[in-house]
């Protein structure tokens, strides 16, 4: 019998529609897989087995009754714990929200529920999405399924690891500076950061409001397009949501898979290669470029001279917004509440004690940075200058997109590093996101798909960037490259990953 956990979401959906398998069977298969590998991977913070099975049974019933269902109805999904889910604990990876059960659903969760996708659980992440390794979770590390001693990326390491380890066919991630794409790259999965405003932020626990964007985490490009179309589109509850309808993403993925990219101009960003990039990562990147060329694409070189300031601007804007967004976690209304151990119990002292005890070091580091950057007398030099850099990066992209239809780069400079390796070196950790951050600063969409294994036998990622609102280009190019790569590998890259159940 087929292992249902190995199917892509599109294939599983097809079998569900054909009545070959039930959603309860599919959901149970994933819960069983979780039971087997979670002790090693720890991708989930909360497993919602009963709720998922109830949704699955309901979908099966409705399907049997002949109801018209969404094409993904019955396909299980994992949701990053930064997205609020009514009735399911939501911690954002922080002690300060331990035990909090939201009274409402994020818009994207409403859409998932309305479409009948069983939510398997909530995935691990760096606290408040601050990190590139998931080591900043208050609830323990998540391990990379390719090598359990290595990081799964971050902040969405839990979603990427869950999908890579066949603990879910689909997952939701959020990407503020690369938190969907970098985990995808280091786990051999697919991750898309949509255009800013493409997917509603209502119900995402905000880190940096002007940069945050939710998106799909999957094993195939087509699956990402299916999930993106489900969760995307206008939401009147998010003022920054794009009013126009999404471009045809699934159609673009299907078109791309046919493999013809004749006439497409692919721009290679000069500044996102070379020094600091692992040779194996660059080798896979250039092989992928050759494949795109073989499919008819024209490869051009483009320069984005202001990208060198992107990381610096990002580490001013992101902490500034985060320092304000995280102010609400004060022990007054929800979540953790800590009273001072001595002295008077005033509101101010309870707030201080709660935040002191509830936030981890990386969160405190960014709150302090942001508070400083916004302070009177420093605002212009820090926040103000960073916003100017942001404008320059947007102009770089505008110029580059005049010369190319999509831009490409390695997603990350290196493959997954060892757990603990960069924990005490924040700057080294921050450098992981050097290739992903510019897209967030400009609000444009980006996709990462696996480009092969580097010299160390670990997956490397290939990033595709498109102009704002042209997310369909990501899926066309991504699906084309994916088809060509899989042909060269003789199947999906993940089939080369070690078997996590060897001890069984």
């Amino acid at each position: 019998m087929t292992d249902l956990t190995r199917l892509s979401a599109a294939d599983l959906a097809g079998r569900l529609t054909a009545g070959e398998v039930s959603s309860v069977e599919a959901t149970r298969a994933h819960l069983d897989r979780m039971a087997a590998v979670e002790p090693a991977v720890h991708a989930y913070l909360h497993v919602a087995a009963d709720e998922a099975l109830a949704t699955a049974a309901d979908v099966d019933r409705r399907r049997a009754a002949g109801d018209e269902l969404h094409s993904l109805a019955g396909v299980p999904i994992a949701v990053k714990d930064v997205v609020v889910t009514r009735g399911l604990p939501t911690t954002a990876g922080s002690k300060i929200l331990e035990g909090w059960v939201p009274p409402y659903d994020a818009t994207l969760v409403e859409r998932i529920k309305a479409a009948g996708l069983p939510i398997l659980g909530k995935t691990n992440m760096d606290e408040f999405a601050m990190g590139s390794s998931t080591e900043h979770s208050a609830y323990g590390d998540t391990h990379n399924p390719w090598d359990l001693d290595r990081i799964p990326g971050g902040s969405g390491g839990g979603s990427a690891a869950a999908v890579a380890a066949y603990e879910a066919p689909l997952a939701i991630g959020t990407d503020t500076g690369g938190s969907i794409r970098q985990p995808a790259a280091v786990t051999g999965t697919v991750g898309v950061k949509p255009t800013y405003g493409s997917v509603s932020r209502y119900g995402l626990i905000a880190m940096a409001s002007s940069l945050d964007q939710a998106g799909p985490v999957t094993r195939t490009v087509l699956d990402a397009a299916l999930l993106h179309e489900l969760i995307g589109g206008h939401d009147p509850r998010d003022s920054t949501s794009i009013p126009e309808p999404l471009p045809g993403l699934v159609a673009a993925a299907r078109q791309g898979a046919a493999g013809d990219l004749t006439g497409l101009r692919v721009g290679v960003i000069t500044e996102l290669q070379g020094e600091g990039y692992q040779p194996g990562v660059l080798a896979r990147f250039h092989e992928s470029l050759e494949l795109l060329r073989s499919a008819g694409a024209e490869i051009v070189e483009v320069s984005c001279p202001h990208f060198e300031f992107a990381l610096g601007a990002y580490y001013l804007i992101m902490p500034s917004e985060a320092s304000s967004n995280l102010a609400k976690f004060d022990g007054m209304r929800f979540g953790l509440r800590v009273e001072p151990s001595e002295g008077p119990v005033t509101a101010e002292r309870v707030m201080a004690a709660t935040r002191g005890a509830g936030f981890g070091d990386e969160v405190k580091r960014r709150v302090i940075l942001g508070t400083y950057a916004l302070s009177a007398g420093y605002y212009d030099a820090y926040y103000g200058s960073a916003q100017k850099v942001r404008t320059l990066i947007q102009r770089d992209f505008a110029d580059a997109f005049a010369a190319a239809d999509v831009l490409v780069s390695p997603t990350t400079p290196t493959t997954a590093f060892k757990l603990g390796e960069k924990l005490d070196d924040p700057l080294a950790m921050y450098l992981n996101d050097v290739a992903t951050i510019p897209a967030n600063l400009a609000g444009i969409p980006g996709l990462s798909l696996p480009s092969g294994l580097s010299d160390d036998g670990l997956p490397a990622g290939f990033q595709v960037l498109a102009p704002a609102k042209a997310d369909d280009r990501l899926y066309r190019v991504g699906a084309a490259l994916e088809a060509l790569l899989e042909k060269s590998w003789g199947g999906p890259l993940l089939t080369q990953a070690p078997d996590l159940e060897v001890g069984k």
Partner: protein
């Protein structure tokens, strides 16, 4: 701590007061500034809330379009320019009644700016106040401190927070420094706040009820030796919530600051609390440069960019504002300037307008409201509008007079009956039997009786001496309990004795 004050007249003779006023008005929109929670006054605590107004993780704001329209109305009524585009900003500070620990407000990009408004003092003097800006923001929740003696936080055992008010739309209107008012600064302050209150009501953007806190004023006061001197250090007295208190608070601060300066000390730049009961201010927070709200543009909202077409449509639909309305009514009613001013100062404009609409002449309406009713209100120590009589009833009363069914004296009795809750004027007339006697029969009977009872007077009249006629009329009026028409009685008496 008792504070020595300099006598007010002396203070203003030696110092030039400068004031500045910040008025917050709660907009009467159906829902809050940034979410769909309803606005309900007096609801159970924490029931008029959504994830947005509670600041729950993940919640996002959306600007209330009606609130923007109301803010533009206010801006236009205050002769402001309306921004072509403007943004909200976050004002960051930790306080339990601010659910997100930042207030979403406008900082350097207000929706309306550079305006002015003329305010009229009680003696008719018109004073122009320059408006620096009017900006949109959200209200905070309400803290209740439990267990202390005074309801203040000091000594309280614990505090309760009600977030029903959190997120209610506010417009804050900030004046430029108001100079040149001299000794009349307290009056100007009061008249300014009152003018704004009247404008809010006319614009139908707020119920503008001071006692509910719909309108709140912060008054800034500073003193300088002469009008040519640079501005002195100011204090900001927060939450002064009645017209009278605005005047008193400015007056108090002038006296207090003069005393501080006379002692050679410097005025401390601080916020001060107003104490309604004792009529004094006390020191609050010290305002220093250390206070840093870390303003930055609200990234969860897009800029508000009212199109010029929309602004002009709002301008075209603006209702008549109180000042023009008063000018129009004065013309229609034919009141003199002092008469109109008395009416305005008595708060009787609307009452008279309704009374006229109910069928009274403007002169009669003014006579009633500024005469008999004003005296009654004074005796009862209430506002005119609080009397147990409506403008419609006054209109009906006057129509009875005009129709000759009652005379002035009877009308006062009818009024008394209406005020006593005996019903409409018509009902009082019937119930009390107060109608003028117009049938000659009963009058002739009374005349005959009076002539018979006073034969010597009757004789004098018959002999052509008309002097004592009044005595006979008096007797008849007495006999008919005032319901006779005195003129008719006179005619009948003369007919009787001379006929």
């Amino acid at each position: 701590m008792s504070v020595e004050l300099v006598d007010y007249d002396e203070a203003v003779s030696r110092f030039d007061p400068v004031i500045g006023i910040e008025v917050h008005v709660e907009l009467g929109t159906r829902t809050k500034m940034f979410d769909a929670a309803p606005q309900t006054f007096g609801a159970e605590p924490n029931t008029a809330v959504t994830p947005v107004s509670l600041g729950l993780p993940g919640a996002l704001p959306v600007v209330n379009g009606t609130a923007v329209e109301y803010a533009i109305r206010i801006g236009l009524a205050l002769n402001c320019r309306i921004a072509e585009t403007c943004r909200f900003a976050r004002k960051n500070y930790f306080y339990p009644d601010v659910p997100k620990n930042f207030q979403t407000s406008q900082y350097d990009e207000p929706i309306a700016f550079d305006g002015w408004i003329d305010v009229e003092l009680e003696d008719g003097t018109v004073f122009r106040v320059d408006i620096e800006r009017a900006h949109m923001e959200e209200d905070a929740g309400k803290n209740t401190h439990v267990g202390g003696s005074t309801g203040r936080i000091q000594g309280a055992d614990h505090s309760l927070v009600d977030y029903n008010r959190a997120g209610i739309p506010l417009v804050e209107i900030v004046t430029r420094p108001i100079t040149g008012a001299g000794e009349r600064a307290p009056e100007v302050a009061r008249a300014y706040v009152q003018t704004l209150r009247d404008i809010f009501r006319a614009l139908e953007v707020s119920e503008a009820r001071m006692e509910r806190g719909n309108v709140r004023a912060d008054v800034n006061v500073s003193l300088r030796p002469t009008p040519e001197s640079p501005l002195g250090t100011r204090t900001e007295t927060k939450n002064v919530n009645s017209f009278r208190s605005v005047e008193r608070a400015v007056r108090y601060e002038i006296g207090r600051q003069a005393a501080v300066l006379d002692e050679g000390r410097a005025v401390t730049q601080e916020t001060r609390h107003w104490h309604e009961d004792t009529g004094i201010t006390t020191a609050g927070r010290i305002k220093s440069d250390a206070e840093d709200y870390r303003y930055f543009p609200e990234p969860d909202l897009v800029p508000v960019a009212p199109s010029r077409e929309w602004v002009e449509a709002i301008r075209a639909a603006l209702p008549e504002l109180p000042a023009e309305r008063r000018r129009r009514l004065q013309g229609e009613w034919g009141y003199s300037d002092p008469e109109m001013r008395d009416v305005i100062n008595a708060g009787a404009v609307e009452l008279i307008e309704s009374t006229v609409a109910a069928g009274s002449s403007p002169a009669a309406a003014r006579k009633w409201w500024m005469g008999e009713l004003a005296r009654t209100a004074k005796t009862q120590d209430v506002e005119l509008a609080e009397l147990a009589i409506t403008p419609v009833q006054i209109g009906q009363l006057q129509q009875l007079v005009d129709a000759g069914r009652i005379n002035d004296k009877l009308a006062r009795q009818v009024l008394e009956g209406v005020l006593a809750g005996e019903g409409d004027p018509e009902q009082v007339v019937v119930a009390r039997g107060l109608e003028v006697v117009s049938d000659d029969g009963p009058l002739l009977e009374a005349i005959d009786a009076a002539l018979a009872a006073q034969p010597d007077i009757a004789e004098k009249i018959r002999s052509g001496n008309l002097g004592p006629v009044g005595a006979i009329i008096g007797s008849v009026m007495k006999a008919t309990r005032g319901q006779a028409d005195a003129g008719r009685v006179r005619e009948l008496v003369l007919e009787r004795v001379q006929g």
